[in-house]
Symmetry: C2
Subunit: 343 residues, 2 copies
DNA sequence: TTCTCTACTGTGAACGCTCACAAACGCAGG
DNA sequence: CCTGCGTTTGTGAGCGTTCACAGTAGAGAA
């Protein structure tokens, strides 16, 4: 026998209570709640006053039940999470999306699909309409989730250019190729000609595009593209170090390295130091991402900044537009060369 | 008259459809969905088959509307996010909580309350019952959100011991004091006697407790606690470096430092090197957290591991128990000394 | 057989909201 | 004065579930 008076969980006010206090009907309150069209100024004001007085907050479950929308969107991660969660870029992205959505009063559901099991459960959850749309982060190609969601007609925006499917799915990405071009041009402008590259996995758009930009610029500049100067890493620090060792072995005359991520570049710096090469005197090193790692390394990395804040806000914008009925869209954002001490 | 056949967003199956296919009533399907008590094996099987056949997924909005529960949990951040999101510990925590909840099929809503405005909106959202409980991460004391939520009767579990309010609120924390004691004892066992400390902000439990452990062990060992050996940082790398410089200036004979976070310890290492002290020969350095920074620094840090995976799973367990009606509970988890090259 | 008890099953009502519809109310034009 | 029209308002129905309750069947005891 709880007597809910001052404290405790008393039943929250409903639209009915507001209507009674305002002296109008449910319908009018509902109209005010949803934009206030076809409501007289007097009623409008009365309702708003009643809402303030009662502390009314709309029950989203009841609303969703009838509208069919959930007024929430999912942030889906299909990567092995360990790696991604330690990626500072990812954190900026997650935070950016949360804030951009908060501005629309839309909560963000964080979903991790690590195992096959989780993947299935989450796909069911999403396709059942429990979110209105999905922000998808999954760099590797051949991700079955993206395809499933697309087929189910779920509004979807990917972060980074998807490799498999064509232009049927929205995405927001930094201009990887152009960023790579900027960096390699920068290295060329320093007089470097034996420029190595540690690229990312070739089943990721970043890996492919950054390598393509590298080759393009060299060709355009009339510099031979030497396959001995090309190695592949997996974006980890360790793979950067291993890559640098391989490069030095195959091309001891290397005078610069373009590394497809700052984390790998850190590994490259360590390996170079261990091999007795000075940076930037003997070898210039260019990174990619402008992550915190770039300023923490010694020397501080010259790198390519990805506009993560804009990427997140654009992802949200495109997704909301798509939920509103727009067609899928691709957004490519420019990168910026940040010059520091490693070149 | 739509003929929904193969493609398009056809209406998802309802409990009604399942009942029809299974040849039973809504009630029976509902009972199967909710644990299957008082249902005959035959009906049980028929319903499960019908669910598989129709691809039925429960409409959580309808369920929430009547049960009053939302079957979702909020993960609330009231810190200035920049700092926290770059903290590797925090990422482990977020991931751990998401996964622990996923095991219960409960989605996690990520909420950031950076500004005062957001704080208000989110408090309204939560108190309106849109989440069943809240996992709160906010180390600083005097956080008004915690108090508001507690008063509103929202199940709440904090990460780290809350400073303000007493034992009325649940929390899960590593044993900061004991961890600090282990580390200082370890330093003493190496023969060090002039042990400095760079502690965290004194309005955080970590700052206070780790300092307390340090002082306790020194006193117990009969070593004088010299206030010149005590400085305060803010958990940032830079503040660690500044702290080390201050310590060296005030107590040049220092032969060890206990640093309250690995990130600060990195700064300490750099400052010591710059001052010409060798680690660990001249000065032993002990960190706290066992974050990635601990193995990335040179030399690798001896540190105190916080059991973040267990912290997250315990937070979820305690919160679910509290939602189920249990009283608030405090859980203190043991830490582990990880010996590496800096001591 | 008949009664009782238990295990199971079906059925309205309700949750809080939106939507479509109808009613009411001006106000202008014939 | 009536008609027609546009704007504002009220009302009933229904979204898909769960819950309480009533009902049914089958087993065991008398």
């Amino acid at each position: 026998m709880t007597m809910s008076n001052t404290a405790g969980r008393r039943r929250p006010p409903t639209i009915h209570d507001v209507a009674r206090v305002a002296g109008v009907s449910r319908g009018t309150v509902s109209r005010v709640l949803n934009g206030g069209h076809h409501v007289s100024p007097a009623a409008q004001e009365a309702v708003n006053a009643a809402i303030r007085k009662t502390g009314y907050v709309v029950n989203r479950h009841a609303r969703s039940l009838i509208t069919g929308r959930s007024d929430s969107i999912g942030f889906l991660l299909t990567e092995p999470q360990e790696k991604l969660f330690e990626d500072p870029n990812f954190n900026v992205l997650l935070r950016g999306c949360t804030q951009a959505l908060a501005a629309h009063d839309i909560p963000l559901l964080l979903m991790l699909a690590g195992t096959e099991d989780e993947r299935r459960r989450i796909t069911r959850y999403i396709t059942a309409g429990h979110v209105d749309g999905v922000l998808l982060v999954s760099s590797h190609s051949g991700d079955p989730v993206a395809e499933e969601l697309r087929e189910a007609g779920v509004p979807l925006v990917q972060c980074g250019k998807p490799m498999g499917l064509g232009s049927k799915v929205s995405y927001v990405a930094a201009d990887d190729r152009d960023g790579a071009r900027d960096m390699v041009r920068h290295l060329l402008s320093l007089g470097r000609r034996r420029i190595g590259v540690v690229t990312g996995p070739l089943d990721t758009p970043g890996g492919v595009e950054r390598l393509a930009g590298y080759k393009e610029v060299l060709s355009e500049a009339g510099v031979e593209v030497d396959e001995r100067l090309v190695v592949t890493g997996d974006y980890s620090r360790a793979s950067g170090g291993a890559g640098a060792e391989r490069l030095l072995e195959r091309a001891p005359d290397m005078d610069a390295v373009f590394v497809a991520s700052d984390l790998m570049a850190q590994g490259v710096l360590t390996a170079l130091r261990r091999a007795g090469r000075r940076v930037p005197e003997d070898v210039s090193v260019g990174g990619f991402d402008d992550s915190p790692a770039a300023t923490e390394s010694a020397p501080a990395l010259t790198t390519i900044r990805q506009p993560w804040d804009r990427i997140s806000s654009e992802m949200v914008r495109v997704l909301l537009a798509q939920i509103g009925g727009d067609d899928p869209a691709a957004v490519i954002l420019p990168t910026v060369l940040v010059r520091r001490d490693s070149t």
